[in-house]
Chain length 414, copies 2
């Protein structure tokens, strides 16, 4: 047996106990995990310092260093995140459905944990605490495989989390970290079907594609977001401009921000000049199709690949379309099934858009930026699913569960 198989076997054993643990015990564990993080803040920051120094020596970007760095405020935030999850409703045990068959069999569909979840993520150490908290509250054991650049930070955080779990009377193997953050262990994790029920990759496109390609364990694909705002001929122009601009600039680095603005040709000449002007004033690089260039000659010409690019940056591709039909066709071809918005006052056009768009979240007269567990009222999220199996859109605690059928009879046979 490999190291990882031993670890995963322990996680599976721990899960058997966690799966039937009561809410009070799980909440106590989350509170103790938070306490331990705060108690160990000094040790965690020292470990983090080594990671940051190594990353600096390698010459990684300032943004990377920024995401990697921990300080007291960030450790406080992690601890508060754990306490927030303790306050959420426990989804486990809920009776989702119940009925009795003509032969007298009583069938109950009950919510249960998924089992052992593997999470593969990049170098943001706060994910270690967030993911552990959500998995534990939903009764799942978790094996975390973080990026090698944050390994010392993750290991220090994990030590505190495991101490908290243990002090609350649960097996510490409910949460664990892969101690060899090499490419090989990631590959092994992806194929441990006997031990791991679900894999959730969190990170950039490359990481997610690698997991989708190489995993035999079922995967929930997250993250990728080429989101669109379509401004229809029947919109309120000022409102449409507000939403179109905000969906790009309010936080361009995240997956639910808009990448492409589609404008109905019937209003292109009235809408585009003002909107493009505001975008430029706010620092956005606008890349337009030929029809946009005719109205706003000073924008950058868009290339074909722009329509498929998630910039995650202050860049916006803009295209004029003949109406809602072309907008829908463009989105279904170039979108990533994440979040799509239409600005229109026409109920029929809105209904067509809602019905025809194939995405997790379809917005009428609102920004795509609301696709988020917190904004949906889920309290927290482990990621945003862009696949269709199991869960779609923001994944909160419920989305980390499955169900089982409990059937009670009096000796029925077939």
């Amino acid at each position: 047996m490999s190291e990882l198989q031993i670890q995963a076997g322990r996680a599976r054993e721990a899960w058997r106990i966690l799966a039937v643990a009561d809410t009070e015990t799980k909440n106590k564990a989350l509170q103790r995990m938070a306490d331990c993080l705060l108690e160990d803040a000094q040790r965690i920051m020292e470990a983090n310092k080594l990671d940051v120094e190594a990353a600096q020596a390698k010459g990684t970007s300032a943004a990377f260093i920024e995401r990697l760095t921990l300080n007291e405020k960030r450790i406080d935030a992690m601890a508060n995140g754990l306490r927030d999850v303790a306050r959420l409703n426990d989804p486990i045990g809920e009776e989702l459905d119940a009925w009795t068959r003509p032969n007298g069999l009583n069938i109950v569909r009950r919510r249960v944990p998924l089992g052992v979840i593997g999470i593969i993520y990049e170098s943001r150490p706060n994910v270690t605490a967030d993911a552990a908290a959500l998995c534990l509250k939903s009764g799942n054991a978790v094996i975390l495989r973080g990026g090698s650049d944050a390994f010392r930070s993750n290991a220090a955080i994990m030590e505190s989390l495991r101490r908290g779990v243990k002090e609350a009377g649960l097996p510490e193997d409910c949460v664990s970290l892969v101690m060899d953050p090499s490419r090989e262990t990631a590959g092994e994790l992806m194929r441990m079907n006997e031990y791991i029920d679900v894999l959730i990759p969190r990170g950039g496109k490359g990481l997610i594609q690698s997991v989708v390609k190489n995993a035999t364990v079922p995967v929930i694909q997250t993250g990728d977001g080429v989101c669109h705002v379509y401004v229809d001929r029947d919109c309120e122009l000022a409102l449409a401009q507000t939403v179109a601009v905000s969906a790009k600039i309010s936080r361009p680095s995240v997956c639910n921000s808009a990448e492409t603005l589609l404008v109905d040709e019937a209003i292109a000449e009235t809408f585009l000049p003002g909107c493009v002007k505001e975008l430029k004033e706010k620092g956005v690089e606008v890349r337009g199709c030929e029809k946009v260039l005719k109205v706003c000659p000073d924008v950058v010409p868009a290339a074909e690949e722009d329509w498929d690019t998630e910039y995650n940056d202050m860049i916006y591709s803009v295209k004029v379309v003949s109406g809602v039909k072309e907008a829908v066709a463009h989105i279904n071809r170039h979108g990533t099934r994440h979040s799509e918005a239409i600005m229109t006052e026409n109920a029929e056009t809105a209904a067509y858009f809602k019905g025809m768009i194939d995405a997790a979240a379809v917005y009428v007269n609102a920004s795509t930026r609301f696709t988020d567990g917190g904004e949906f009222g889920f309290g927290a999220e482990i990621g945003i699913s862009t696949q269709k199996l199991h869960a779609r859109g923001p994944m909160g605690l419920n989305e980390l569960t499955t169900y089982k059928y409990e059937i009670t009879g009096s000796g029925q046979i077939r």
Copy 2:
């Protein structure tokens, strides 16, 4: 573009129309598909005759030939199956949940089709009609890839089904068959993530494992069933014997039949002799552990691999365990998370078993054989999921759907 990419592209385009088709149109298509099958029965049987002759020439087993052969009665049954699906409720469009956020955003979670489903199956031509019907009713386009031994039969059936779909005014590409049933096309289908949303393999263990291993498209794993009946010390002995015997013999070839009988040592001496006697009288080969052999010296000794074997045959492995705890541990180790039963009158023991067993269906005082879409009241099923993502247990029309969030605002931004 490959042949298969062209076909899948057409399926995707057809799906856009099918996804928003009304119930009446879909039902009309199902009825016309049934009519066409009956009208074309002669042509279908001629094609089938060629498949059967080729299979006989290859020297395949009698059971294989039996599953492959079509006659008027079986074509009638296929047509009736299509009409049965027409009578089921249409799951699409259902509002699963709805709420309004403090910022005024109204969120609706609505049931929608999965998209394009790929089904890879072995040489049972009736699957062609069954699977097409369930996918169409649930608004999904389907690409079927049947076994090469049934290719001529499947192609003939598909020709009739497509004619029916077209005559009802839907695009015939809603249902199609892969016209080159080679290993290569199966492999290609498994990796067409851009075109296919979900893969469902139907068939033996080898087929399913190959799909799980090689697919990058999300898979719903079905079928594998090493199911157990545990007879507890607090059971009604006569009832337990009835269920234990029936769960094996009522239809040994299917996945929900029992493969292993676990008996509490406290009642081994009173229960085993009568039960083993009845099993033998009914033609079952009993393979027992050492403790079984002590009570019933005339049974075959079980080998270690017996506990992991799905016989699908009149063979039953029998093991004495120290009580419900060992029974649960044995099942969670050797079971395939399909269906597990306990016979007990003790409510506490039953609750422990229900809580601790990790399986799609857990039975108290009933046979495992009820894990079936029809028996659950789903009307029909596409298979029995043994994984935890998306759907667990019998998969009816609801399990062939996903959801999307429709969010309506008045210009909200973040």
